[in-house]
Symmetry: C2
Subunit: 358 residues, 2 copies
DNA sequence: TTGAAAGCGCTAACAA
DNA sequence: TTGTTAGCGCTTTCAA
């Protein structure tokens, strides 16, 4: 807590105490001094002074003047999810390495929130925006467009800006196929023994469901509509769907495809209410990877979306001059049960891990 | 992608087209017009105009002039972790509900990064800062102090600013006790059958380890130093510790306390390398809660830290005038195995979950 | 009830 | 090689 502080030094302060004009000081301190042909000695003097006085630029002033802020935004649906939080992790590292300032926000999959938040980011004059998993990418696009804000869609594509998304059809295909093959190890599989839960009417869910149907039809024959329940992205609703199924059939489906790790949390809620026996023989697929889920006490195939590649690609598009409006697909990976993958935290150094006893 | 756009409207534009002075327009548009006794009619006129022209304030300009930005920061160690990402989730919601703009950043538990990032936030004139899990809270404090930035420590306490932290001793006590009781269900427990992995030389780890020792001594007698291995906060290092133990003893400890979910990920890496039999009879405690981990195929007791309460308390301290420099403890909860708790995502509406088939 | 004017800290012509 | 100056868009006295 604080208050007592003397105000921060400005270029004028440094100008006065050095007897050098503000514009020269400015040039030195913002790095443009070489091309302004300022004497090395002058520069050094000013830098020394700045150092001594703990000078740091007022970025609001700089931003106001130059109408750019150095801020790069990432708009997420939610933080509290390994897929999106790993995106945030990669995003931060990559943006910071370019000397810009990353700012991560979440809009809770609410189109109004999305719009408002983007408006507010624009009010702060952010320079670029990565829009991840937006419910209304094209609406957000219009807002960005109007403000002249460069933006790219990630995870969920829009039709009006470049997009980088997981190849959801391919992922859905891999997952469904792995599920069926695994189920067959325990005997023949009837079409109504394989279900799908979770997701809603967005591009990703549609593609995954399309793949699910195609593979299922090819491998098992028909696919009753009752086998597909997009319960939205909420653990609670998904849990209800499992409960309802269980109430009706006295058991869970032998095999099922869960649309995301958020929906998979719904399965955990179901499990908490039932003894182990209730799911002794199930085979599950989840379109998302989570390191703990992978070791759950039933075969769980997961799809790992390549968050790092998506962020990298998204940022590279942002730095392109006139990127074509197209959708880039990023290949996902099928992760077999009991697999512990490396994540963004592994890139971190952990210098002073204590090996002695405390 | 965009470029073509006409510039955003300013109060001057509105002033010109309305024939009303900029200062009046300003007052109307920033909400101070009632106390400036501006006529209702004037206000309405300007608001209508602003609406029509899609006016929104330039927050950099406002911030520059008023030397506050409306930005509130949350500094995290990492994003990619359920404990911290749920903090971020609660933080966003609460800050936004006050009309301010939340900005979440991570510093990777690197003191230099922490300092730099805070400096850069200060350059953007953020108004308040919540410092979560900082490696060097007091160093960060000094920087904030110098800039007159209000700040509070969360999760890891500092000695120079108010702090809100989990009652780590109590959590450690609950967890160790639950572990021992559960182990005893399978027969008598010797002191060297209960171990601790993970954490490093920070306040949280020290408290947890202290509790571990106290409870262990009280319930089991001695506690050989070799039973405690603070491996830092890295999945990789922790996995190595498990491997080393396994190599030496031909098995994992019968029971062990894992210092955080990040360390627990190290256990997953170990598990991936070994058959189920290698851990058929283990009992584990983890000082963090994760909904998937709770259902792993061995008894796993977890400690849930109350991220929501900590954020709430932290923000309330920030809005206090001269908060005393003290540490507030937040009670954690022991979560028995196979428990699916509600999280921040449950507060979200999921309006258009699709119940029909696509 | 409203307007004029100064200035927040910085950048970028243009002059010197 | 450096200095002068005019703003960026907004808030805020002070005066009318």
């Amino acid at each position: 807590m604080t208050d007592k502080t003397k105000k921060k030094a400005t270029i004028y302060d440094l100008s006065v105490i050095s007897g050098i004009s503000p514009s020269t000081v400015s040039a030195v301190l913002n790095g443009t001094w070489r091309k302004r042909r300022i004497k090395e000695a002058t520069a050094e003097l000013i830098q020394k002074l700045a150092e001594e006085h703990g000078y740091s630029a007022n970025l609001q002033a700089r931003g106001l003047r130059s109408s750019r802020s150095g801020l790069v935004g990432l708009l997420l649906p939610v933080h509290d999810n390994r897929y999106f939080s790993s995106m945030a992790q990669y995003f931060e590292a990559q943006v910071r390495s370019t000397g810009q300032c990353p700012i991560v926000v979440s809009a809770c999959r609410d189109p109004d929130e999305e719009h408002q938040i983007v408006e507010s980011l624009i009010s702060y004059s952010i320079d670029e925006l990565l829009i991840a998993g937006a419910t209304d990418p094209d609406g957000v696009h219009d807002i960005c467009e109007r403000a002249g804000l460069k933006h790219v869609n990630i995870d969920l594509p829009g039709s009006k800006a470049p997009s980088v998304v997981t190849d959801n059809y391919e992922g859905g295909r891999l997952l469904t196929q792995a599920l069926i093959e695994r189920m067959r190890e325990q005997g023949p599989v009837a079409p109504d023994e394989l279900h799908l839960f979770g997701g809603r009417d967005d591009h990703a869910s549609r593609e995954r469901i399309r793949a699910f149907r195609d593979v299922k039809r090819a491998m098992l024959g028909g696919d009753p509509d009752s086998c597909i329940q997009p319960t939205g992205y909420s653990p609670g609703n998904t849990a209800h769907a499992f409960e309802a199924f269980h109430a009706r059939h006295g058991r869970l489906p032998r095999g099922f495809f869960v649309n995301s790790s958020i929906n998979l949390e719904g399965l955990m809620r179901f499990l908490a209410q039932h003894p182990q026996e209730a799911f002794a023989d199930i085979v599950v697929g989840c379109f998302d990877y989570d390191p703990f889920a992978s070791f759950l006490p039933f075969p769980l195939f997961m799809i790992r979306q390549d968050a790092e590649a998506m962020i990298t690609k998204g940022l590279s598009i942002l730095s392109t001059t006139r990127p074509p409006i197209m959708t880039h697909l990023v290949a996902p990976t099928l992760v077999p049960p009991r697999t512990a993958l490396i994540g963004p935290l592994d890139a971190l150094k952990d210098p002073d891990a204590v090996h002695s006893v405390l």
